[in-house]
Amino acid sequence: MIGTASLPETGCHQEIVRLDGVSFSYDAQPILQDVSFRIMERDFVGLIGSNGAGKTTLLRMIVGLTRPQHGNVTLFGTPAEKFKEWNLIGYVPQRSHFNPLFPATVREVVLSGLYGRKKMFRRMSKSDIGRCEDALGAMKIADLGNKRIGALSGGQQQRVFLARALINNPKLLILDEPLTGIDLETQTNFFQMVKHMHQRHNITFLMVSHDMDMVRSYLGEEPKERVGKLSFYVRHSHDLEDCRGTDLLHSLRKEG
């Protein structure tokens, strides 16, 4: 568990992400101006905006790939620059970012979700391999384990990247345009799965999209906050009786 003593908490919910006056310009063109927002535990945040509104830039700042030029990003109570517990964050990047000719099997990709600073000089243990199988099972892609990632359909690849992000049992899951480039039926299935995870498990979501419809039906018509060209839609979940963390992958597998 996170051991910092100064976590701001409201009841059983802690503040997962805090943005304070975050600003970013690219070549003197301001993209984000004074963005302030809080994401609380078990929120599902939909970050909607047209292309160029700064969604990806903001996301990159939250996962630590970029630094804001002004303002602060705080993760789990720690300033982003000092944050080290990256296993708490699962990140599903945009699909356009990977090379489909890369010779990697689904299993190799999902297992790589465990690679990080802590495992740098260590081998993958039996329990690590076991977790990989859990993740494949939970995402219903166990039969695809030995296939090359480039040979899968868009929807299947999406599940692989989601499995990779979930293998660490993260508390925050960030999805960058997960519904883009896949057919409507697959989009619906994917979103159903994500909704289910949000409702039944202790996990916080941040999803970036430019597509309103699917998101609005779950998150409501009105955004909680509008900053510049960005809209933050939020839905909170309380459906678990208590807020203790459960092992997401095991639960997903049991639910079948």
């Binding site: 996962v63 790939l65 296993n87 990140y91 000719l101 890369f102 190799e108 790589s112 030995n146």
Partner: protein, 250 residues
Amino acid sequence: MIAITAPLIGLFLVLRRLAMIGDTLAHVSIAGVALGFLINVYPVAVGLAFAIVASFAIEALRRTYRSYAELSIAIIMSGGIALASLLFTMGKSFNLSVTSYLFGSIYTLDYTDIYVIAGVTVVVLAMVLVHKKELFLLTFDEDAAAVSGLPVKYFNIMLSILTALVISAAIKIVGALLVSALLTIPAACSLALSRSFKQAVVYVVVIGEAAVLAGLWIAGIGNLAPGGTIVLLLIGVLAVSVATSRLIRS
């Protein structure tokens, strides 16, 4: 030994869309070699120094000017050869040494060369074996690697240095003009044939080693240039690999 390390590093380079880097660093390294001759310092070492500087420059350019990185690489490459031609003609021992560095000559290796090559092999293999998981993630998805907390900057620098080391060491054997082939062609064969990353690494090393050994043997028998023989053999293997992969697919 170079037959293992060059293809291995080459696999990572090709997958990161840096296939041109072998050529560039080799051309720049040659300028260093020429300088080494002039100032009477072990040429491979000067070549290595030049290659390392160039690899940092290329990495910096790759990050800053993603769209124009190719152009910068082309310019650095020409600059390297131009400088090399100037430096070589300024010196006295022109013809023989230059040819051996341009086209490779395994017969004129001295003990220093062999120690250097062995040393480079050990360092590269050690780094790759220890960090194979991290290198996989870094090559497959650099953003995901950064988000996992991996020190991406250091890995990139490490890869640049390893590339410079391998190229400088390989120049003496296959020659500066053909080093790039030893980096890229085994990788190309491997990518055509492999069904997993593990397989890709095995194929790349096996194909590289086999081609070099066979090439040297044939070159020895037929009194042919070793570098050229190895590379032509590699191209042959590539043709067979692609044909095989087509056959498997259909």
